[in-house]
Amino acid sequence: MALLQIAEPGESTAPHQHRLAVGIDLGTTNSLVATVRSGSPVVLPDESGNVILPSVVHYSRNDDSGKCTVVVGDAARDHAVSDPLNTISSVKRLMGKGHGDRALSESGNQFAQADEDNQVPAIATACGDLTAIEVSADILEALRSRAEASLGGELVGAVITVPAYFDDAQRQATKDAARLAGLHVLRLLNEPTAAAIAYGLDQSLSSAGQETATDEGSLVAIYDFGGGTFDISLLRMTQGLFEVLATAGDTSLGGDDLDAAVVAWITQKGELGEITDAGDRKLLAMQAKAAKQALSESESATISFTLSSGASFNRSLSLSEFEELIEPLVARTLQPCRRVLRDAGIDAAAVGAVVMVGGSTRIPRVREAISEFFGRRVLCDIDPDQVVAVGAALQADVLAGNKSDTDMLLLDVIPLSLGLETMGGLAEKVIQRNTTIPVARAQEFTTYKDGQTAMSIHVVQGERELVDDCRSLARFELRDIPPMVAGKARIQVIFQVDADGLLTVSAIEKESGSVASIDVKPSYGLKDTQIESMLKDAMASASEDMQARALAEQRVEAERVLLALQGALQADGERFLNADELAEIDKLSGAVASAIDSDDVDRIKDSVKALERGSESYVERRMNASVRAAMSGQSIDRVGDSLTDTASTDSAT
């Protein structure tokens, strides 16, 4: 006998047509899976009744059979001390990271040697070299089989949450992991947005008639201090519609760092020196975490253990000592809070509700600091560990088609501006950061040289003015541009970001219809600067960047003028100019060429002006001659036609 769930009126599905969908919170420390049963969201437990699956995977190989065994969750964590190198935790931190990234060296894992073939860093385990994607896939696989056992059928799909701050590489890595685990991703959902859905804030805020509910909607801040990431997001809700106004955060700040602060305290107080043994390090981390968790409930926690060296530690950590230890980290979360308010142009007092998400918000001091910052009581009624999974499940239910309630439309934003490289190494932003997605923007570009038949398109992400300072995402080439004079070709470049925040860039040459496009396969192998430091750099180097841009633009302009002039001179210089005039233009060109090599914007500008003045009469003579040539033997009507043609190509820049 099948087990049935209650459906909304008129929406019973046909037998065997239940569209089972789940929401997955794939966390740094813990992962959860939730679904909607008879209209109510529930977090799904395993056989022992635990809803939380620690994001820990252990790999082992049977020496005799050579068979590989993968264990996920609590069972894997039990191996953390005895077999640390084959026990992978906090793998989310490594998602989408390239070789040489800080996250790798800090992870405590052993990585396979980087070489030509392996662009993605791989962790050396008993089961071979595994990438972060493969390890994440094992976690997702465990959640998928738990969900399928709980729901009694195959899943049609899942909504997986990611930090709002994840870049394209990290989002794509998450999608890849889901595919490996045999999950169809209905959508990647930003964690704060999921939390807002879980609280049903759209309804509660509008029906409760909050004093802040204006025509512009209610503002909600989601403060998500999880195991490995910190996010602050500002959402606006208008008539049940969610819109992410701004997000900021720190992809490398979380409960793990609070643990590390406690570990540092233990090491110092116990005079343990540097802990080199991997097993000892994990033991210490677990002790620190246990103490932290105990201090959310009580005034002090006792820490007691013995290291493999025989050194032992036994001391109690008081709540006030603990709060002192974590204060710098709590303060670090306030900077992004200020930034989202600034980005959205909003005063802290205008925020109508503050939602706490993530295990670290159980710490009383964290709640206190945030309610001080926003000047209001924070919302923490729903279990902060489950709230994201619950929201994802509600969204999955809608996306799987189990609910007609389609007015729950979500708008997310892209975290960093997307653009492409133009001449002179400048980054031209096509989509600005914090633009709501999905979005498509087109911009027209043209050729730089006469007869240019190909154009290289370099897609970059970041806020800086120079390409070198931005993150390179992809390169591709548009070929088969028909040979034309510089500036005549019309190349439309379209940037499209889908609902998951993934980017497709396409380029089309309008005359010939040549097309090239690329799905931004994020560049895992690239050296990745942390997003938050990218933003910080962009602020800090604003004026420097402005000058660099001005210089680069001036250089490009000067080179373009030289190139055009040289082409013209070669064709008919001797026809229109005498030796003296030629020598004069030559001299002025030389001045421009040497000015280009200098870093002096004004000098380049002046030399170009001088050259333009010096070649004025030459240009005039050429124009007159070509007009004469064009008009000879033409009727008045035809002249009118060709003028229209000229006008239309002029606008094509």
Partner: protein, 107 residues
């Protein structure tokens, strides 16, 4: 005859209705579909139509239309667990045979 609920089933229905925040009761029904002829309908009910019968058991209003009642009369709605899975079960005395999964049946 009537439709009844076990206490476990009634508890779940009451709690789901409360969480949903609205609804008159629970609608039970059948429709012709599925691999074995008939399939059960289990929905929240927001309104009662002219040809509906309303039963009340353990503080839960159960709504069944005239046509469905022929197939459902005497049914006890139960709630059970199978491994990790859980949900509602129809203990329907009218059923002669059902498909392997039990989602559809024949009378």
């Amino acid at each position: 005859m009537a439709i009844t609920l076990t206490e476990t089933a009634a508890e779940h229905v009451r709690s789901y209705l409360e969480k949903r925040g609205k609804g008159f009761g629970l609608r039970l029904g059948v429709r012709t579909t599925g691999c074995s002829g008939m399939a059960y309908v289990l929905e929240f009910a927001d309104e009662v139509a002219a040809n509906d019968n309303v039963f009340e058991d353990r503080d839960v209003k159960v709504i069944v239309d005239d046509k469905s009642l022929v197939y459902l009369d005497g049914t006890e709605l139960d709630y059970g667990k199978e491994g990790l899975n859980e949900g509602f079960k129809f203990n329907n005395p009218n059923v002669k045979d059902e498909c392997g999964c039990g989602e559809s049946f024949n009378v």
